[in-house]
Amino acid sequence: MTMSSPALNVGNGSSAAPAGRAGANEPKKPIYLDYQATTPMDPRVLDAMLPYFVEKFGNPHSRNHAYGWEAEEAVEKARKQVADLIGADEREIIFTSGATESNNLALTGVARFYKDRKNHIVTVVTEHKCVLDTCRHLEMEGFEVTYLPVRQNGLIDLDVLKQAITPKTVMVSVMAVNNEIGVIQPLEEIGRICREHGVFFHTDAAQAFGKIPLDVNRMNIDLMSISGHKIYGPKGIGALFVRRKPRVRLVPLIHGGGQERGFRSGTLPTPLCVGLGEAAAIAKREMTAEAERLKKLRDRFYERIMSRLPEVYLNGDLENRIPGNLNLSFAYVEGEGLMMGIKDLSVSSGSACTSASLEPSYVLRALGVDEELAHTSLRIGFGRFTTEAEVDYAADRIIEAVQKLREMSPLWELAQEGIDLKSIQWAAH
């Protein structure tokens, strides 16, 4: 089966003039600029998956007949496609339901297996919640966890990492790319330090796999968590790379028929595995060109915003950053209020005004971004289907909304009068 049209209709970007959408009466979908949350599936991925729902529906673990064999062949091809993108052997790839499960399995599985000898894990305060929450649970089981701070640019200090490692440390878990600010941790250096100390190195690569070159051998990575839906593949599938030499052992979280080398029981979802594999293969072929294109779009957007709006701050390092991410604080304009003014753009806010806690992003707080500035931040994600016209339109809409809201902001007014906001005694509420 083939799709009739190769052009994806993501946010109407490729065909309709974005500026035209605002005035149209029919409800148009907003421009999608939240590629770190999820990505639309690439139609080529869907094409690869479709035969495995109805025609080739076999259980890949059925050893007795052709239905099983063809499903198994598809799954093994996908496994190799995933392995090839990170320089791994296909026997080192375990399919999971997604990066959250992979992170749970890597951390809990390793910790429990080696608990008689070692009981300490080192991770970072800006990790994804599924790493931090798993670590909290391991602490309840009696493990010790060190949460490394990050510098103002979002990157860890390698000397601090070295000092955190003890003879009881079993694993260092540092995310490859941060989901909010897109910064890339120095994986090769971290891997070298871990190898020197005889400590396993796990990286949550959900935001890195398929976006930046990764090589598990050059980077001395022992475990790597992978997600399907961040790279134009399907939701509900991910993988965990588990090194064979030197061997990493795990206690499984899901027990049953012993699939996936006993690390993860359960019948593999053939179409989803095929989708992840195809997405990885496309990324391998197109990563370099795509990164270049995205970087141009991102820089174009960034320059447009910065040249027309004062007091906008970039969160996270600009150099060590994936090309498809920006995280900006628009001082004196609250993020959620801003989002309401740009309803035809789908972006993400660092403000947490919607949640009961009223706490802004813990990632931005970890960088030392003031709470008030953290409330004014937006995450803007660019991806495979983002067009130049969309980027220009989005930048102009944001500029317009920020200008309007600043005119309405008492903080902007105070700042214009030269009053230091920190000198005011604000009431807590």
Partner: protein, 135 residues
């Protein structure tokens, strides 16, 4: 998640702006905190008859916070200070159909009215009270 009324006030905010905070007939209330993601400035101008002639606001916050403050500038105009002080956050929340997580926006708007009235009374009462005490 936003009601039509919130969207209307957000898109067409009433009475955005500032009055001269040094004018003795102007009361200014500045409530909330930048670190909490909401700051409202509400100003009232009180006529010689004790009735609020004008009201202006500026708000840093979400759509519900902007709508709550915009709404109260409409409500306080033409009211006496006593009537304005009687505006309850529940009235604001109900009128705008605020969801539970946004109730604090209406609380802040009520606080802003009270703070503006208090500021006005301080400007006036502050002069009158000692005079009475001496009499």
């Amino acid at each position: 998640m936003y009601s039509d009324k919130v969207i209307d006030h957000y898109e067409n905010p009433r009475n955005v702006g500032s009055l001269d905070k040094n004018d003795p007939n102007v009361g200014t209330g500045l409530v909330g905190a930048p670190a909490c993601g909401d700051v409202m400035k509400l100003q009232i101008k009180v006529g010689p008859n004790g009735v609020i002639e004008d009201a202006k606001f500026k708000t840093f916050g979400c759509g519900s916070a902007i709508a709550s403050s915009s709404l109260v500038t409409e409500w306080v105009k033409g009211k006496t200070l006593e009537e304005a002080a009687a505006i309850k956050n529940t009235d604001i929340a109900q009128h705008l159909a605020l969801p539970p997580v946004k109730i604090h926006c209406s609380v802040l708007a009520e606080d802003a009215i009270k703070a503006a009235i208090e500021d006005y009374r301080r400007k006036h009462g502050g002069q009158q009270a000692p005079a009475k005490a001496q009499a």
